[in-house]
Amino acid sequence: MTDRRRLVVSLVVLAALLVAIACVALFVGGAGLSPRAVVRALTGSADAGSVESIITLGLRLPRVVVAALAGGALAVAGVAFQGLTRNPLAEPSVLGVTSGAAFGVVLAQIAGLGASVTDALAVAACAFGGALLAAVTVYAIARSPGGLVIQTLLLAGVIVGIFFSSAITVVISIVDVDRLGGVVHWLLGNLSPVPAGSLAVFAVLAAAGFGLVLASARELNLLALGEEAARQLGVDAERLKRRVFLAAALLTGTVVAFTGPIGFVGLVVPHVLRGVVGQDNRLLVPTAMLAGGAFLLAADTVARNVVAPAELSVGVISAFCGAPVFVWVLRSRARAAA
């Protein structure tokens, strides 16, 4: 099978999976709507003010879209960081980038930014700034003349993550409780419905990040040869790294701004995909967008329903999946290196 064919087949299968999970997510939930009521709401034959319309179109559908977008963006950010660092363990939350973005969002929230479209943009910008700051710091710590040392990179990520988490704690401690609003709940990683205008901002920013990584997919493959060899093949390695770095920070920052710090999606999804479509970033980037969406949507549906009528935060589910995968990859790499 050629690469192009494999990509098309994978995308079709993943799109079908995503739609199937989205259907499940639309039909189940704490409100106990009958399937017929949901269909009525979806087809528009129910009253706009009816309970089924409000729950299905006002709560569940936006949440499905947010989950699919956030999961896809995080998975693509994971593939991007993994390509840049040439390490399958690199991932926004492992590298501390998620915490950096979260710090930016906390600052924006205590500054009183709300949910209007311009405010949403400003919050996203703060998250992007935080993500970029964390990513650059980790990169600067781990960089050495011989390239990136992987242990140093992971430790640097942990340290930077702890630093920003502590900074968030400091801010929360010194700020008035009533100005904190939903910050604590948000910090657990939460997919609440986003207003349509903000959702559009989210979609545009995520699409921009995705497009940048997608356009760099072939060059990211060549980066695996080493920077010098990539340059000798005609790749502008510095520009490539800057572009992918910015895109990955943008994807991470955007997701954190709209959903909170959700970890490990960028680790789990690319890891599973590598087993299916192989190591080629040209296949990984587009499939990660769909597979990440499917994964986070499934995780959120579980989070919404497993302890109903209460709700788990989706970050908990993704971390429960991510931690074992992290250990697995770490161990198998240790074995391969021995």
């Binding site: 050629t2 690469d3 192009r4 040439r86 390490n87 003349p145 997919a217 072939r218 060059e219 493959n221 060549l222 695996a224 040869l225 080493g226 010098e228 060899a229 340059r231 000798q232 093949l233 005609g234 790749v235 502008d236 590598r274 190591q279 080629d280 040209r282």
Partner: protein
């Protein structure tokens, strides 16, 4: 014959020594030329500047003064992907970690022929197959590079460079990981590429005997200076080598009539 590569009074110095005690390395007014169609060898002791010379040629490093020309054009003025269509490099070491297969590796060599493409074209795939066939790596195509032996990896790296279809093939220590049989095969392959495709070959090697056997001309480099350029018989001169390498050597003749160099083990070092 016209010069394909020309270094004209090239000045270069690393910004600072990598180790504090290491001496500062520099090229001063480095001048030499590689003719189109020849096999040209660069030899010399460790830290003579052999690899730096390749990095300057491929624009990984930029000269502080002077000019490096490819076919009469300053390489600094050539787009990087266009340069990669003319000059292919086989590095000393295969990259690690490297998750891709041999076929994917070789296809990477096609990047400069269509940097805007998302997937390689059918012509790219054909060129990659040809490069693998020429290096005997076709049966290894579906295997991950990391699973191969050192010699197989080296041949796969050579296949990637051939997939670039370059006019100038640059090799950094091409036989350092190869056993005798593959050394002989690699030497034969390089000769064939040179003869049949008219490919100009620039190789950097510690192996004086391989260089003597394979190269039309040699450049002896020492501390960033050209000591001598000429046919192997002229450059591999006992007194000259002893002065540059700082040890006693015996220069003899191989069955093919080329010089061979051996350490004079029995005598004490100077």
């Amino acid at each position: 014959m016209s010069a394909l590569v020309a270094f004209r009074e090239v000045d270069f110095a690393y910004p600072r020594p990598e180790r504090a005690r290491a001496r500062r390395f520099a090229f001063e007014r480095l001048t030499f030329a590689v003719d189109a169609g020849e096999i040209f060898g660069v030899i010399g002791p460790n830290s003579a500047g052999k690899t730096s010379l390749l990095r300057l040629l491929t624009r990984v490093l930029a000269p502080a003064g002077g000019e490096i020309q490819l076919d009469g054009r300053n390489v600094a003025a050539i787009a990087s992907w266009e340069l990669a269509r003319q000059v292919a490099v086989v590095p000393q070491e295969a990259p690690r970690p490297f998750p891709f297969t041999v076929e994917q590796l070789v296809l990477m060599g096609r990047y400069p022929h269509g940097p805007g493409r998302y997937f390689e074209s059918a012509a790219d795939a054909a060129a990659a197959r040809g490069a693998m066939a020429a290096t005997g790596t076709l049966p290894l195509a579906p295997l991950p590079l990391e699973q191969l032996s050192g010699g197989e990896r080296q041949r796969a790296m050579l296949a990637r460079a051939l997939a670039q279809e370059p006019r100038l093939l640059v090799l950094d220590e091409p036989t350092s990981h190869l056993d005798l049989r593959y050394q002989a095969e690699t030497a034969e392959l390089l000769r064939r590429l040179n003869r049949e495709r008219g490919m100009t070959i620039l190789l950097v090697s510690h192996d004086l005997n391989l260089a003597a056997e394979l190269c039309d001309r040699l450049l002896l480099l020492h501390d960033g200076r050209v000591v001598r350029v000429g046919v192997p018989g002229e450059v591999l001169d006992q007194a000259l080598l002893e002065g540059v390498f700082g040890c006693r050597v015996v220069v003899d003749k191989s069955p093919s009539g080329r010089p061979t160099v051996q350490l004079a083990w029995a005598t004490e070092r100077r």
